[in-house]
Amino acid sequence: MTTGARLIDPNESAAAPQSRQIALDLARRLPAVVVAAKEIAASILHGVHGRRRAGSGETFWQFRPFTSGEAAARIDWRRSARDDRLYVREREWEAAHTLWLWMDLSPSMGFVSDLALQPKVDRALTLGLAAADLLVRGGERVGLLGLSRALATRDIVDRLAEILAVEAGLTREHDDLPPAQALAPRTRAILIGDFLVAPDTFADRLRTLSSRGASGQILMIADPVEETFPFAGHVEFLDVDSNATLRVGRAESWRAEYERRLAAHRARIADIARAHDFTFVVHRTDRPASEALLALRARLEAGSVYGAIA
């Protein structure tokens, strides 16, 4: 049985160009992801429910008299012209949530099989950027964990994609876990990846992240081949992150054991996530991306902590 499984070329991935053609490859590939992310975000935005959009950050709050010593630029001359006093326009003070986004760019994310719609890394990028767009339009600030500060610009997708591209060009080895840094209290993190790591390492990293009280979502991307193990006959498996190989005489006889182990691994990861106040969602790349985004949004709004498979 051939599954058509393969690893995409590093240059093929949206954010992992390794050569001088960084800009070129990104130009070729990112727009599609960016457009997909925007489309999905828009469909979620309009598809679920309406949201109060007016007044976030731009609204007028009050005029107050100008006090000497202030910068003259702050004077609202139109109002001041009405009488003899000078006024300063004050806006509503806005404090947005800050969300940190992390997407796994490690080699194992480059896996794609014939059953999948796109490589895992592309799906992760699409979902991450779409979530960023969605959140920024909802008034939040979004940053890339370890790569950028939190931004709330309208072109958040393009900005983040740019940063990712630069980062991908600079770094050759991508860690398969988010950077170990303690997030500020009450911030949230969205971690997207395949999390095919040792559960203990994962627990350590998550503990560090949430040590100051941050919470968030974990979105596990899985290829359908990884879930169903549709191999048969004589197969030699190659590991992606290391040089390990496994030659199997009759792959079909390994399926049950693999499924058991995969379930155990997932359960472990989910447990760890729950323990650190993270939600846990599994998303398969043969499903539409909007499905996962919808689930993600629901979790973010609910802020509840439970695992589900979207």
């Binding site: 051939t2 194992s108 095919l196 191999f231 197969v235 498996f237 992606v240 390990a244 199997v248 009759r250």
Partner: protein, 943 residues
Amino acid sequence: MIGLPVAFVAPLALIGLLALPVIWLLLRVTPPRPERTPFPPLRLLLDIERRDETPARTPWWLLLLRLAVAGLACLAFAGPIWNPAPAGEGGKAPMLVMLDDGWAAAPDWDKRIAFAASAIEAAGRRGAPVALMVLSEGAREPTLADSAHTLDALRAKKPQPYAPARLAALPAIESFAQAHKGAGALWIADGLEAGDARAFAEKLAHLFGASLDFASEDRLPLALAGARNEAQGLIARVLRASPASAAAGRVRASDMKGQTLAEAPFVFQKGNEAEAKIDLPVELRNDVARLDIIGEKSAGAVSLLDDRWKRRRVGLVSGASADVAQPLLAPNYYLSKALGPYADVREARADATDPIGALIDDGVDVLVLSDMAIGAPDVREKLDKFLAEGGVLVRFAGTRLAGSQDDLTPVQLRRSGRVLGGALSWETPKKLGPFDEKSPFAGLAAPDDVTVLRQVLAEPEPGLPARTWAQLADHTPLVTAERRGKGLLVLFHITADTTWSNLPISGLFPEMLRRIVALSGAAAHTAPAEEELSSTDAPQKAETFAPNRTLDGFGAFGAPPGNARALAAGFRGAGSADHPPGFYGPSDALVAVNALEPDANLAAADLSGISARRATIEQAQPIDLRAPLIACVFMLLLADALASLWLGGGLRGFRARRASAAVAVLATLGALAFHAGDARAQNAPPPAQQPGAPTQRDIDAALVTRLAYVVTGDPRADEASKAGLQSLSRTLAERTSLTPGDPVGVDPARDELVFYPMLYWPISATRPQPTAAAVQKIAAYMKQGGMIVFDTRDALTQRPGGPPTPEQSWLRKLLEGVDVPELEPVPRDHVVTKTFYLIDGFIGRTANGQTWIEALPPETPDTANRPARAGDSVSPIVIASNDLAAAWAGDRYGEGRYPLVPGGARQRELALRGGVNLVMYTLTGNYKADQVHVRDLLNRLGH
């Protein structure tokens, strides 16, 4: 192998087949390379303890494929041969291989050589010495040698262009058989009886008994013999020996330089003889020097033609006044009947003032004057010149000759005829005497029933017998001849009709004339022979022709071989070893010798009842199967490599369609390699579409007479032309017996014009001039008898004496490249005004314009008072200016479409009448100008 005609060169290699089960076991336990696949969650599995498991087995089809590869490779190494050459029997006893090498063996000479070689090789494998004997070298004693030397000798053999004389070889064979008792013999026969095949075979059976093999070919060769140059064409006799041979084919005629002049098909119906008729004009036919059957490469399939096959032009002049009503009384009737089958007979035109001069100018080879006195000195001069340049002048006597003082005769004539058996004669009618050996008529039988009632007599004089070609039983000269310059003067002392003798209605008469006509071409180079013939006391000198170019056995021209001997004059026979077929003599007077006699027939050798083993050459073609097998192995290996790649996931990078394309390419390459071994190109090119093939439009145009107009590109003019011609066609169909088809618009540059009797061409000055090629076509159309009606449509704008209108200038420019005859305004008595209606002129949308037509010849007193005059042909051009088509054009109800000036239904009717007259003039020409219509015309004109 059992049941199959397969043998192996190295049968030991077949032991390798025993290894197949081992290979099978090995393949079963060593599976193909596993599918390699990346798998990110692998680390979940890495720590599972390794279970002891056998890998998946090799798929059965891959197993089968590999076994097939191994098996086929084993077979290929064993060197299999399909249809192996028979090993032959006879152990180490010597063997005699006899090879027919006449022309009949040439078409499949390679196969015969291959067969002989395989037999010799087989003998060599047995260790038996072999003697080779080609039957054309019959007298040479066969010598035994080992097979390698004999093979070399065999490969050097070439077929001979004549039939082998097998019996001549028998003594040598007999002595061989006696010297080597128990020797085997193989006769590779050409299958024809020619050369005493049956007698030869019987003798062989007697000599060699049971150890005799015959090999022959089922498909017997075709041959050409006895071409005849007849009035209707050059007829070639195609012969075959048995119905098993090819049933149809083509004969090619080529000239002395080898250029093909014509080809003609032949089909055998019943029997073994067919005819191919090469239909060429006489001038070209006389150039034919060689006929051959296409695809038959043998000297027998070639017929060489020399001067004897040329068709002579014979001119007939009779002194009698032409009386067509009673042909049996005219001498020319008998002459043309007798000469017609093999010569081109030309008679002077009845009204020719100088028939002899006209015929000589016409280039006749033979001039026959029957009962004509030559009086005028200029005619005599011409005849002398004709004779001096090699012409043959044949004269027949008659009352006019007998009574005239004419010395253009070979012998002195007594000025009174001799009457035998008449009322005033004591003697009975005389019969013909036998022909002298030296006479050209030698060999012809003189029939008893030919009698001579009356003749002119020769003065007895010295040399008269030598000039006599034919005589009566009492030695009275009947035909005398004499050389004059290069030419020949022959006198028949009788008339060419039956009044003096019944010779002209006997079968001998055409034969005699034929011999005389045949002398005409050879007159120049046979002059010495003729002199010898005319002077008995000259020493006998053998005239010979050295070989010039001879045919080899395959029917190709080459230098004559060393043993070719010069040909005696008068040689008539088939080619032989001494005289191989070919051309003999000097280049300007070649004599052809052919492999077959003109009346030859082919007969298949009947060898039934003779005890010998028989083989067919065709079947015995051993085919080496090694190359195709190895190609097969190679292809299967490729397939195996692809399959392994696929099983190992190596084809992942391929798109599916790319992979299948690659497989297709590989399969094609393999197939090509497979067929390269015995690729024989026999694909005939598909009949190509001929460039000049008629289009559907042309076919339609040729089937129905229709009017046509030239599409100018000016939409208004074209619409008017179309509507006008439609209306005119309708009128023609209603009023005349002509029912034209729908009118068409033509483009002179593109369309074929020849189908349209009349072209209507409205001039539109704003349109560009047609191309030079189109103008040429227009000119050719006018020359071929077409008529173009140009309509300048400018009657309203042109002024007498004023500058030419733009339309006129345009037309003048167009006609610069055309040969336009002298024109005149249509005269009142021109036939075009009388062809259907009696009209005064051609009226169109306007009525005042002038119409021009080819000027008639000036009036003669004979034609002065006729109401209608015409030239010899239809005027190729009519130039009108009244916009005819617009006046013709009408709607369905007959109402005019365009306003007329001055107007009225009468004007439209007159316009249509003019149109009808134009069409009728085009179609009937000067018919209405004939005298017989004068009375009717005058009657009608009077009213």
